[in-house]
Structure formats: structure tokens, C-alpha cells
Amino acid sequence: MPKGAPEDPLDPRFILGHAKSLITSTGGGRPPTIDARRAASAAYYAAYHTVTKAASYFLFGESWINGVRWFSHKAVFDASRLVSRLGPPHAPDPGRDPDRVRDHAVWSIFRDAGGAKPDLLDTMEALRSLKVERETSDYDRTQRVSRATARELVDKAELVHAFFESSRTDDADTRVFLALAALKT
């Protein structure tokens, strides 16, 4: 990952700080639920920008900031589902039928990489949880988004951020995910 002072106006650390400020008590009384909704939404974007930054750096190195816009939300989540379904060490072989060729290939790549480790699987699911909650927070006026849920999501976003800022991005299983996100784009 890039080192040094951040020059990115959408640096996930800034977005996470914003999300946390929305769910930190500043006075008495029940906090407005719109704060929890906006925090949940911001938590998702912090995680999404973290992933696209890592994937772009994987492909373009120091020029990563010019590559991030190539990624799409759908590509990232399609890739995360592939990791969750075909990456676990106990995942069954999808078989060699012609319509399973691609699944079998991804499954084999993960086998060669020793399988997706639990922290990567946790991170993949955290990403999808954040996306589900963002959609509820931003569009669904009938469901409640509580402060507890928002805090949980900010916590999840921090885990995602910590994972992709760590040396785990150098490991084979994580690189498979980053490559799949690029291929799905």
C-alpha cells in the first residue's frame, strides 16, 4: 500500500472519522436516527474506497489514484462472493462441466494458494454487510437503522481498512480477490 502523508481527499481514514463523529454522543437525549443512517452509509464508502485503493495499487503501483475509478461496486461484490463461495479450504469442487469452468478455475487457484484464510472471509462478509446496510440506510424509509447497528458497521469498516492496510495484501489469497475484482470490472 502507498506510504507517506495522504493526498487523497477520499482517504478512507477521513470517511471513517466522519462516520464516528456522527455516532459519538455530544449531549443528552436520544440522538437523531439520521446520524446513524449517515454513519452506516459513510462506513460503507470507507470500506469500498479502501478496497478499490488496494486493488488499484495492486495493478498500478504508485499511480493507483488514477486507477481507482475503473473499479465498480458490482465488480467488488461479485469478486467478494466468489471468494466466499469458492475460497474456503472446505469449499466443494464445482466440477468440470462446461458451465462450471470458471468456477472450477477460481476454486483451483484458491487451492493452490492454500485457501482463503478466515480473516479474508470475515472481510468479504463485512463488505457485503456494509453494502446491505448502506442500501437500507440511504433508501429504505421503513426499516430502522439503530445507533448500535451503525457502531457495528463502523467497527466492521475499520476491520476492512486495517486488513487492506496490512501486509495481508501481499498474501496469495488476498491477491486472488484483488485480481478477481479487476477481472470483474
Binding site: 458451465d99 472471509l121 454487510s129 430502522r144 457502531r151
Partner: protein
């Protein structure tokens, strides 16, 4: 159809054997030899394949109740015997289903649920899903009990 019409116009006899429901069921369960199906006329092959796909989709849908039971068992095993859960499909493609599992937990108020507890719940859901519906991925949503918005 054309071969039937041709036979009638030519005034000769013709055998037409259609796949009945029993044939379709036997094909879906793998009881009909693949070679026989491959030799069948295209219209019958198409119908067999359609039925197979329909049944496969139905079987996948039916898996949700089994998954729900398995997840409840798993939550019981890790100390959440009464956690209400909701299961629904988020997304479905021929190869993959994304299942949303919503687990209601006691409201921690201004605090956060323990990371260890939420991780255990997500792992339990993930394991149950891979056992019951290996073609599916689960996404867990943790929510406190519903109360009206302020």
C-alpha cells in the same frame, strides 16, 4: 411436429413418444441414462432440460428452510438460543445465491456488540450455509429489536 406432418402427408405410419411427467422426474433424478437423452429429438431434450432447471431452482429455494433450522441450531450452540432470525434471498444467479441472514440481538444501547460475539455469529452462519447450500454465500445483518424511529 414437421416429421409428424410429413408422415401424415406421405400416408405412412409414425411413432411419437413424448416425455411424460415420470420421464421428466426420472431425468431430473439422474435415473434416465444420459445416452438416451442425447439421442432424443431436440424438442424433447429441450423439455427435459427445462424441467431439470425448474426443479433445480425449486430445490435451491426449498433449501432456505433447512438453512434456517441449521442456523438456529448453530446459534443455540454458541449461546444465542432465542435469537430471532430472518432469511431471504438477496441475489440469485444460475451459479450462485446470496442469502441475507438477519439476526436480532439485544440492543447494547450506546455501546457496541462485542467483536468476539459478532464474529462467532457470522462464522456460525457462514459454516451452516456452506453445509446446507454450498452454492450460496451468506451475508449477516445484525440488528437490535425493532422500535419506531424517533
Amino acid at each position: 411436429m414437421q416429421s409428424i406432418v410429413d408422415a401424415a402427408v406421405a400416408g405412412r405410419g409414425h411413432w411419437t413418444i413424448t416425455a411424460n411427467l415420470d420421464h421428466l422426474r426420472r431425468y431430473h433424478r439422474g435415473l434416465v441414462q444420459k445416452g438416451l437423452v442425447d439421442e432424443a429429438p431436440p424438442a424433447i431434450r429441450t423439455r427435459l432440460r427445462w424441467y431439470h432447471d425448474q426443479m433445480a431452482t425449486r430445490t435451491r429455494t426449498d433449501g432456505l428452510e433447512e438453512l434456517r433450522a441449521k442456523i438456529l441450531d448453530s446459534l443455540r450452540a454458541i449461546g444465542h438460543p432465542d435469537a430471532p432470525i430472518y432469511i431471504g434471498r438477496l441475489d440469485e444467479s444460475p451459479d450462485e445465491t446470496e442469502v441475507l441472514v438477519e439476526v436480532t440481538l439485544p440492543d447494547p444501547g450506546d455501546d457496541t456488540w462485542s467483536r468476539e460475539m459478532t464474529s462467532k455469529i457470522r462464522t456460525a452462519v457462514r459454516t451452516a450455509t456452506s453445509e446446507v447450500m454450498p452454492w450460496a454465500v451468506a451475508t449477516t445483518r445484525l440488528v437490535p429489536p425493532a422500535v419506531p424511529d424517533a
